[in-house]
Subunit: 346 residues, 2 copies
């Protein structure tokens, strides 16, 4: 690993359209980042002929053959025990061995997180890593975590997520003093959730370098009323997928509506360029690439249904994380505040 040049380990076999979209996506990422190098882990018999179509990528890649692949429906524990030489595990292990700066996979999320935890360990001061992503909300991009690594969380987990999300917004998104809120069901709720209330009390105490703004509801999340939204992995995952599903629903309805009269069809023709720009802006592939935060190495998870452009975006996220030294800085801040974070727990 030469200083300055970034090397990424790619799980070439993970994802619905793998390995084709992994290879095409990596090639596409070279448009933005021509200096990046790749280590591709996967079936050489498939990858070798595929790479022949991408001479530029071929020149910047090293192929590491393995037959083993983690199944999409494999339980994390099974994947850990059985697939010791899987393309996914080898990619994560390359980060552990400092042969790569980051790993990117579109495979089984649970297995990837389990491997990342075992091989890279969690950072000091962090009990559980979280999955974070950046959502395109109305006022600004919003960092949201956890998106599914921890279905159940206690208040300490949420406080640690708040710290990680805040550091991430500062180091990678360049937000100076990111505002942070806990996702909740509003003040009018019949019954508050104890975990969320406890976490809020600790964050209000102000011992951590977090600009805590209290609670935000689902509408506030999408309005972009804060920079970072913290929640448990169950709620976060549902929120992300409801947003995806609603966006798809409304765009489809628009399309149907605009096809229902000749005047409307002509109108669409005239507005074609503007609508094309909007479609590009709302394309979920643009926001592909979820970060695993709180680990001793950078791992980025691509959506399983990513296409080449989506996978290229996941690679871009990994490059940004490495360039921003996000993980190192999160580690430093966590080490500095590890005491208040765990004290808050007592």
């Amino acid at each position: 690993m030469t200083a300055g040049a970034i090397t990424l380990a790619l799980d070439a076999m993970g994802g619905d359209a793998a390995p084709r979209m992994v290879v095409a996506g990596a090639d596409r990422a070279l448009d933005d980042h021509p200096d990046v190098r790749f280590r591709l882990f996967g079936d050489g018999a498939i990858l070798e002929p595929l790479l022949k179509g991408y001479p530029r990528l071929r020149a910047r890649s090293e192929l590491r053959h393995t037959d083993e692949v983690v199944a999409d429906d494999a339980k994390p524990t099974t994947a850990l025990r059985q697939a010791r030489a899987s393309s996914m595990r080898l990619a994560v292990d390359a980060v552990r061995q400092h042969e790569a700066d980051a790993a990117v996979s579109a495979g089984n999320t649970g297995a990837l997180m389990a491997m990342a935890k075992v091989l890279l360990r969690t950072l000091p001061g962090i009990d559980r890593p979280a999955i974070a992503s950046v959502m395109p909300a109305a006022k600004r991009p919003v960092v949201i975590l956890d998106l599914g690594a921890n279905a159940e969380c206690d208040a300490t987990n949420l406080v640690q997520f708040a710290l990680m999300g805040s550091v991430f917004a500062r180091t990678v998104l360049g937000v100076e003093e990111p505002s942070v809120a806990l996702l909740n069901i509003g003040t009018e709720a019949l019954k508050g959730d104890d975990v969320v209330q406890q976490a809020a009390n600790r964050l209000r105490a102000g011992e951590l370098p977090i600009r805590f703004e209290g609670f935000v509801e689902g509408t506030g999340l999408m309005a972009g009323s804060v920079d970072v939204v913290v929640t448990d992995g169950f709620t976060g995952n549902v929120a992300l997928k409801v947003a995806e599903g609603t966006a798809r629903l409304i765009i489809d309805r628009f399309r149907d509506t605009l096809a229902d009269s000749w005047a409307a069809k002509l109108g669409v023709l005239l507005a074609r360029r503007s609508l094309g720009r909007l479609k590009a802006k709302l394309d979920p592939q643009r926001y592909n690439g979820a970060m695993f935060l709180g680990l001793g190495g950078v791992v980025v998870k691509s959506h399983g249904s990513a296409d080449a452009s989506g996978f290229a975006n996941a690679i871009n996220v990994a490059v940004d994380l490495v360039n921003g030294s996000a993980n190192g800085r999160i580690g430093e801040e966590l080490a500095q505040y590890a005491q208040p974070v765990s004290e808050a727990a007592s």
Copy 2:
């Protein structure tokens, strides 16, 4: 109460734009349901002059004066203890005393649920009532519950919600064999949620008259892959509000995009009628009116920010519930299956 004619008790003082939108909404509801009668609970000094502008409504309404109002930020317990003659409480009490077939309020949700539980009691076989609504998903309208009455739920609560949602879809929406699913974070999740897994096991056992389809993710909810989606009140509330927020975000982006060139503006002019129809179809006021299920009486909660058209829709929901004898039928089915429901709990 004459057989056939429906009487509704309205909390005239609840909601951001009350009492104006309550009165205007009730008048508007008479367009669809000219036979409905109203009992309006609220400040006579404000309501009397207001009603003068609505002679048709005035003729079908009985005004019950009270000075007391439940504050929007009042805790449920406080509202129960202090506001004994509040417009909200009197409206719910009218249902208890069989002076009205249903109560409608746009006030404090938590207080309304607390009063409904105390005054109307839960149906036999139900531990906790739930808030349900119908969401406009892609393939069909989807019944979703709970939307915030119970931030934390156990597996028995979820099983009971599944039964209530199923009966509601049959009796009010007229779906013959409604498909029911539990909201979850997908099979690839690192860690399942125990409560959801337990509830699924009980529903799979098949002792209840529920067509259980397993799990659905946030995307499946918005796609409308089943008729009824069951979840805890925390997740349900977040899901509903994220869907609302995403819809608003995308519609705003469309508007901005279509205003960014002369060709696009001309296009919009041509497509105006179609876009107007779509806007009407997606208008959240159209879907206003959440049902409290599992109580010994019908209570409908309007969104606090409802306008007259939204409040009229909440009234329509109450009329549909009364006409469909939804509550009675839910009670009968619950009585019949109370044993399996509680046995399942053991």
